[in-house]
Each structure stands twice: as C-alpha cells, then as structure tokens.
Symmetry: C2
C-alpha cells in the first residue's frame, strides 16, 4: 500500500473503569490511530499514538461546515480468548460511500482494517469480557483546512478511537416508548440521510429532546416529502412484524444502510421468515395494529443491537405493541446476533472475522 | 451581566498580508474571543487571547454529530477613521435562533456584541481600508463534550475569529453561471435549513463540486418536497427582477433568513420598487424568461453582498439573464449597500453601528 504504520506507545497507561460501570462512549483506550490527508501527499503518515487531544486552527472547516463522516463497530473478546470483529468490511465500505457523498477522498479499506487490527492489538487489555460488553470502535474523518470558503477541504484527518462499553441500555433489553415525530425531519431524499455524517445527527437533537420531555426515549422519523412514510427510529433502522412477516422501510436515499439492518434481514431469511423491504406509512401501521396484526416492532443498530418498541404515540394516538413487552422474535434476534458476535453461538454467515491475535506483550 | 472579560495580548504579532492579496477567509488576526459553557456554570470565562489552535478530545461531539452553529458579519474602516459594523444585532439574534434549533444554550446577545467590539479594538490595525475590503467576523459555537451518545452536548465553546478580506470575487462584481440542481437537496422543511449550521453546508458540497465540473460557479437549490420551488443560490438568498417587480422566495423554514436579504428588501421598498416574497417555481421563472419578462437575477449574502446571475442551466435548458451582464438594479443595490457599509453613503436605515473607537494604544 505504500503505507508504513508507526506505533508510539503511551508512557502512562490509564486505569481501567470497572466492567460493570462502563456505560457507552464515556471511557477511551490508551491509544488512537490517526492518518493525514493533503492534496499533495494523499493519505499519509498512518500512526498509532497515545490517546490525546486534537489540535486544530479555529478556522478548520470541521468547526464551520460540518464536513465529517464517521463509523461505528464493535470488537468482542470471546470466552476462549479470541478477539472478533463484526463485519468490519461493511463499515469501511460504507465509510467510503459517506466520504463520496461529503466530497472527502476515499480511504484504502483494507489498510484501514489492518490499522484497526494493530490498534486493537496495542489496546487489547481494554476489551471487556463481561456479558453484554464490547469494545466500541469509532473511525471518523474531519476536515482540517483553515479556510472559511464554502468548498471541500484540502486536508483531512482519519482517526480511530475505541471505547470499552457496557450494554447500551443499562437496565437490559426492555421495550422503549417512541414518539412519532410530525414537526421535525431527519433527512430527505437528495440530502445526506444515507451518509453517516454529523449533520443528520445534529438535525435530530431537537426532536429527541422534545420526545424526552414528553417521556419518550426516541422519535420515529417520517419522510420529509409526504410526512407519512416511516424512515428510522432515533438513530436506528426500524422493523415491524406484521402477520408473521417482517417489514422494514426500503432504502430510499434518506435512510441509513445499516449493517445490523442488513444482518437482521439475512438472519430472518435464513430462518425462512419472510422479510419485505418496502415503503410503509404510519397510517398503515396503525391500521395493522387496529386489526391486531402488528405483532412486534424494534430498532436495529450497532450500539443497541436490537431495541424493542413497546409503545408508539402518533398525534396523541398511543398504541401498545406486544402488550409493551419484548416480543419473541425481537428477543430471538437479539440473543442470536449477540451470541454470534460474542462467539458463543455458531456463525453460519461468516460475519465474524479475527480482530487481532492476543499476545502477552505490552 | 456577571461576565468579566479578560484580555491577554499576543507577544508575537503576525505580519499583515498586503491589502491587494487578502482573498477571503485565509488570513486571521492576532487575537480571538472565546467563552466556555458548562451545565454547572453556564457561559463563563469570556476572554480575548492570542489567536491559537483549539484543542479538543477526539470524542468531542463537534467531530461526530455536527452540533455547531456560526454567523458571519463584517466590520468596515471608513475614510474618516471610524469603524462600523453592519447590523450586528441581527447576526446575534439569528445566532440564538440557530442555537435553539441545534439544542445549544442561548448566548447573551448584548454581551456578545460588546465582546466583539473589544476584540475589534484589540485587533483594530487588521481592518483593511482599500476599496472593497473589510474585516470578516466569524462567531461560532462548537460542542465539546467528550461523549459519543447521541444527545445535546453538556459543554460548548463560543468563539469569534476575524479575517481581513478582499472583495469576494477577485475579478469584481461579474455575473456568474448557475446550475439548477435537480439531484441533490440542501434542506427541507422540518430540517435545519433555516439554521446557520454546518450540516447545511456539508450537504451542499457535492452539488457544488458537480456544478464546478460542468463550468458553473454555484447551484440554484430547489425545494426538497416538490423539487421545483426555488430556495437559495449557493449559500446565498436569491432575487429575481420580473416585469419591474422584485421577487424572492418567501421564508418557509428551509431557507436562511439572510440579513443581506432583509436589508435588500428594505432598500427596495424605500425606493418604491415592489418586492414580493412568495413561492417561485423554476418552471414559472423559465416562463417569464420566455416572455422576455425576467430582467435580472442575483444572490445576496454577507460575503459577496450582491452576486448577479448571468446564466441558468436547468436540465440543459440554458437561459441568459440580462444578456449575461450585470443588471442596472443589481449594480445599484451593490453600490448603495456597500456604500452604506463603507460609510461613503448616507445610511437612512440606521443599520451601521459603531464597531469600536480607534485608539493609538497597542
């Protein structure tokens, strides 16, 4: 590749938090990966260095024009002392699709995975082992050129940080209450909804705050054109079990192409459960509920894996799903997918790949 | 206000660029303003410090979730040695509307203007005086909490940097060629289009690149719902002179409430030229052109002030506006508004306010 990765080890290791107090995205490992881009040199100087602040000119584009992308994936340490990654190729492929949408130069996907493996090797002691824990990995790209013209940056940094995390919901997998958002829109076709970029998350904060104030965990996003077709739930993809079939919004350009989403679809097909990717309106969903045919609903994403939906509130019409309990299929999907990820269950899909080889060296 | 602004002067002043080589947003003054926010202390520790890098944890929210806002305004140094600001109250009011949309805490607008005045005082030697130059001022807020959960940040920095700038278009006010964008969308009602936040600019880069490749300066944005109503041009508001009347898209939630836009409307009314804020479709615009009634078109914004449009290309239907020349009204608006801003012409609107009192002290 022409890349030569250097490693600078920290002289001062941090103390690790207790595994039962990890939370999500709060603690970070001892090291980080970083690589620079300039027009002249392309991506260069890949290096693993002690976890440290990023120092940027106040005019750096990332502070002004939101030219950023990110990814999220997890590494797991199995009972038999292997380190596994869940479909990292999919994350780095999507990273490059996001890069293309945001006018950020492409990154060598294979090299990025190899760099990640080396970073995990260096910080291997940070991978937690308790049930439900994992090492959350956050690759991201920021635009660093100190220039206030509105145009793609001429310099970037690609960075990977890692955080040991507990279960996303500390109280376990319990159904959440969801507010169907009628005022705010997350993304629209032709926009950046399909890319994993800051602007989509920034756009979601106000609606989420409003839902929280009303006692709901997240919002169900409707499309920005007709304001009736279901897109995502919070920052997750969403699935509905209707009459024994599973339905999920079809990818339409404004919905994130979730890796957990596509894995769930693959698992369901493997189990011979029909899956339909299509346009689903909120009225239709309420109609199915009225007829007693809406059996389960759940969100899917890297952080929470499966998040069952117990209640929907659409314009003050509240409906309980599966009596507000975690559905049988939701539970089976969660148990199977996390079982595969943790290495406790067989992986018939070939999803899990070696994250690193554990060593005794420091 | 309870705020006590401290000033730390640089020990090493930078050399200033020649006024005929300023460009836009390239050079920065010797100092910057910064103020911190925490949940415990609110906005605190306002300070003017030497211009310097911002150092943030790699997990800081601004790098991941785009929770940022910014403003742009200009200070002018007049021939009679006064420093003038153009409607700064409007910028800081809009800043707080953007803050509200992005779940960022409100900032004391009067204090912000006073802090800006003091910053200008410290860096007064940086205000250029040649025709067409000014001191561009960039206030912005970034989310700094090192936490990867998707939720509003618990800490922020409000920063002001300043850049001496030349005319936005080095070659003078000449009509630009504009590509009518049919694939990409900048913003949609219910989204963040009305806020001055990074995500809107990130969403625009790909379309702008495409237009540049085709030989066009910028794109004309159509709405995200019907894909036919005109919203903005590049990162400017847009106006059309039709049959002696001036038409501009009405603010609808996805269009930026431009301060130049509202000033142009006020000037036109002052001159007894009819102004209509309404929904304008691209078909309708082309119809007016076919009937010989589309007389002029121009963008408005802080950076360029007035940017005449010489050509539109909508689905390969190219039309010339005013024979590709700067229209009489466009030129008069540019001359009058920049004349008022530079203090060369009377200001019947009360827009210009004192930026600082020039002093001889260092």
């Amino acid at each position: 590749m022409g890349h030569s990765l250097t490693i600078e080890r920290t002289l001062k290791k941090k103390s690790k938090p207790p595994e039962n107090q990890l939370g999500f995205g709060i603690h970070y490992t001892d090291h980080m990966f970083i690589m620079d881009y300039t027009v002249e040199n392309g991506w260069h100087q890949p290096r693993i260095i002690p976890y440290q602040p990023i120092s940027l000119d106040p005019a750096a584009k990332v502070f002004h024009y939101g030219q950023t992308i990110f990814e999220g994936l997890k590494a797991y340490r199995t009972a038999d002392e292997r380190v596994l990654l869940f479909r990292p190729d999919q994350n780095f492929k999507r990273m490059n699709r996001s890069n293309a949408r945001l006018s950020i130069p492409q990154i060598d996907e294979e090299f990025a995975i190899e760099a990640l493996r080396q970073l995990i090797q260096v910080d291997q002691d940070w991978i937690p082992t308790s049930a439900g824990t994992s090492l959350y990995i956050r690759p991201f790209v920021i635009s660093t050129e100190a220039y206030l013209g509105v145009a793609p940056s001429k310099s970037y940094q690609f960075i990977i940080i890692m955080s040991p995390v507990g279960p996303y919901y500390a109280e376990g997998v319990n159904p959440v209450k969801i507010f169907v958002e009628s005022e705010y829109v997350r993304a629209v076709n032709g926009g950046i909804g399909e890319a994993k970029t800051g602007g989509n998350y920034a756009a979601s904060l106000k609606a989420q705050e409003g839902a929280n104030e009303k006692g709901y965990s997240q919002v169900l996003w409707l499309d920005g054109v007709h304001r009736k077709y279901i897109e995502e739930v919070g920052s997750m993809n969403v699935f509905f079990k209707i009459n024994g079939e599973v339905h999920t919004p079809a990818l339409n350009g404004s919905i994130l192409d979730g890796i957990t989403r596509k894995s769930i679809i693959q698992m369901l097909k493997h189990w011979n459960i029909p899956v339909v990717e299509r346009t689903i309106s909120i009225e239709e969903l309420y109609d199915y509920h009225a007829k007693g045919q809406l059996e389960e609903a759940f969100g899917t994403g890297t952080a929470a894996v499966i998040s069952p939906i117990g209640e929907l509130n659409w314009r003050e019409n509240k409906i309980l799903l599966n009596q507000g309990q975690t559905g049988e299929l939701s539970a089976k999907l969660y148990d199977t997918l996390t079982g595969i990820q943790n290495g406790l269950m067989a992986d018939p899909f070939g999803w899990m790949v070696e994250g690193t080889v554990l060593s005794k060296q420091i």
